[in-house]
Symmetry: C2
Subunit: 308 residues, 2 copies
């Protein structure tokens, strides 16, 4: 079983409008809702790939109930912990004319110390059954910045591989607790290390404690600095579409390869192909299995001659 | 008792962001929710003025439950009829830097013929107890454009005065059913009559069937064309603030004057003072009683010499 943790789950709402004009009034022509938060997205992709997948984190209030209702028919197990606060909404406003998206993200509910304790109890039990753990996304208000570092240490103590995908101070603290893998994007890497050049920044990040670092370079694919070597994996051509969820699909691909114990070049190829198949899918955050399989054989993986 | 009808109720959500930039991602710094829809706003103001007030219309789904939960502590009676569809949300995005608002309005749930029948049964019973009825706002999908005309006729058959505040084809049809009062704004009047000049457009609207027409002219106050004469009422000076709900407060002022049987100049003064007190209040759609009372004595009401 693969466990994904989303401390700040979300009800993702998508509004379609003819064109977004600041300070005007808009009739929303189409409303869609899906269960969201990075770890939930990762879990959906893992489940589609055939993995037994469990989702934990917090859910509360009326939007938490809607989120759980939307999770129920999906092939992922809901192990969310109740919170008294209300699960946040995110609103993506899509311009029908251009396809561009304007994103509004609520901060999320304040988590109490008692709720955090209840979560830790549930987490420790779930980790014992897990083949891998993914810790994903932002922290809701009330949770200390060292929370991911704590969760990394608990997974390591149980000898379960742990992947961290977050940003800012929680990432900085989390890396120091020595996770098996972190997956920052170029901006997050630059903020963490002060370096802009991808290879240098990725190696710097690894030196901070992560066993391996896979940096997502947007259309240029993934750059992996690992104990076994350094690789860059890229799609066969630039893919055009909606990048929402592409990073989460990459994390799912890396976990898929991790639990199957395959070599880094193949892991990276899966991650890049899933990510590209997500960008190409018409619905935000979804991916098409046929596109994924077709892309998989066409990913270029190049090994760097330098040491990690 | 005053009955307000809101067929397309809403959960009004307000997001504060630093500045709204199209196609960017925004952290919402503050989230507020209130029960909404024009008739709900009118009812809140009437209740604050001391009137026994009942709210009807439709509520359904998780947002309908939240809406009813937010109505429960207010001094208005909830007589909303259940719908299988989900009550719409409206999202107002306020730029903290400028105070400007960008509005996103969901269309609302499709109402089934069986739900409409259930509503008509409830409406007929509530009208029998009512001293006045207000029909407010847009129609949700599934309700025929002649719905307000039908509700106007039913109120008139029960000899209960009926006020209509809507727009477009539902207003055009509703006026023909001879309501006691309609309250269009300048844009709605122009669309209805083709005339831009306020006095001409207001008189044209009245000839279409309404007993009286009170046109809201924004900062210039209200223009009333009635069987007793023509008046214009204006605030003492231009009021600066948030105009959200100002029109609904004007409707509440007109209803307040109607059920108390006071003369038109006083009714209009109340409506203009309430409307201005709503613009001046810091929270959208709220009004300050002290400001209202202070303004009330300072409203200018001018009678036009011409016949209606």
């Amino acid at each position: 079983m693969i466990l994904t943790v989303t401390l700040n789950t979300a009800l993702d709402i998508t509004y379609r409008v003819d064109a977004l004009t600041p300070h005007a009034s808009h009739r929303v022509t189409d409303v869609a809702e899906r269960p969201g938060g990075k770890g939930v997205n990762v879990a959906r992709v893992l489940a589609a790939l055939g993995h037994d997948t469990v989702v934990t984190g917090f859910a509360g209030g009326p939007t938490g109930d809607v989120l759980r209702g939307l999770l129920a028919p999906l092939p992922v197990r809901d192990a969310l912990v109740p919170a008294a606060g209300t699960t946040r909404r995110t609103v993506a406003v899509v311009d029908a004319s251009t396809g561009d998206t304007t994103q509004l993200n609520e901060p999320g509910p304040a988590i109490t110390p008692a709720e955090w304790s209840a979560f830790l109890g549930a987490y420790d039990e779930l980790v014992r059954e897990a083949d891998a753990v993914a810790l994903c996304g932002s922290l809701p208000p009330g949770i200390h910045v060292g929370a991911y570092a704590d969760l990394v240490r608990r997974a390591r103590a149980a000898s379960v591989p742990v992947v961290l995908d977050t940003s800012g101070e929680p990432l900085r603290r989390g890396i120091a607790a020595r996770p098996d893998l972190v997956k920052p994007n170029a901006d997050e890497l630059a903020r963490l290390t002060g370096a802009r050049e991808p290879l240098r920044a990725t190696r710097d990040a690894r030196r901070r404690g992560a066993h391996a670092v896979v940096a997502s370079l947007g259309p240029d694919g993934l750059l992996a600095v690992t104990p076994d070597g350094i690789w860059q994996a890229a799609p066969p051509e630039a893919v055009k579409g909606n990048p929402t969820g592409a990073g989460d699909s990459a994390v799912a691909g890396l976990l898929d390869g991790l639990v199957e114990g395959i070599a880094w070049p193949q892991r990276l190829a899966r991650a890049v192909a899933l990510s590209a198949a997500t960008v190409l899918a018409p619905a935000a955050g979804e991916f098409d299995m046929t596109t994924y399989r077709e892309l998989l054989s066409r990913i270029t993986v190049t090994e760097h001659a330098t040491a990690a």
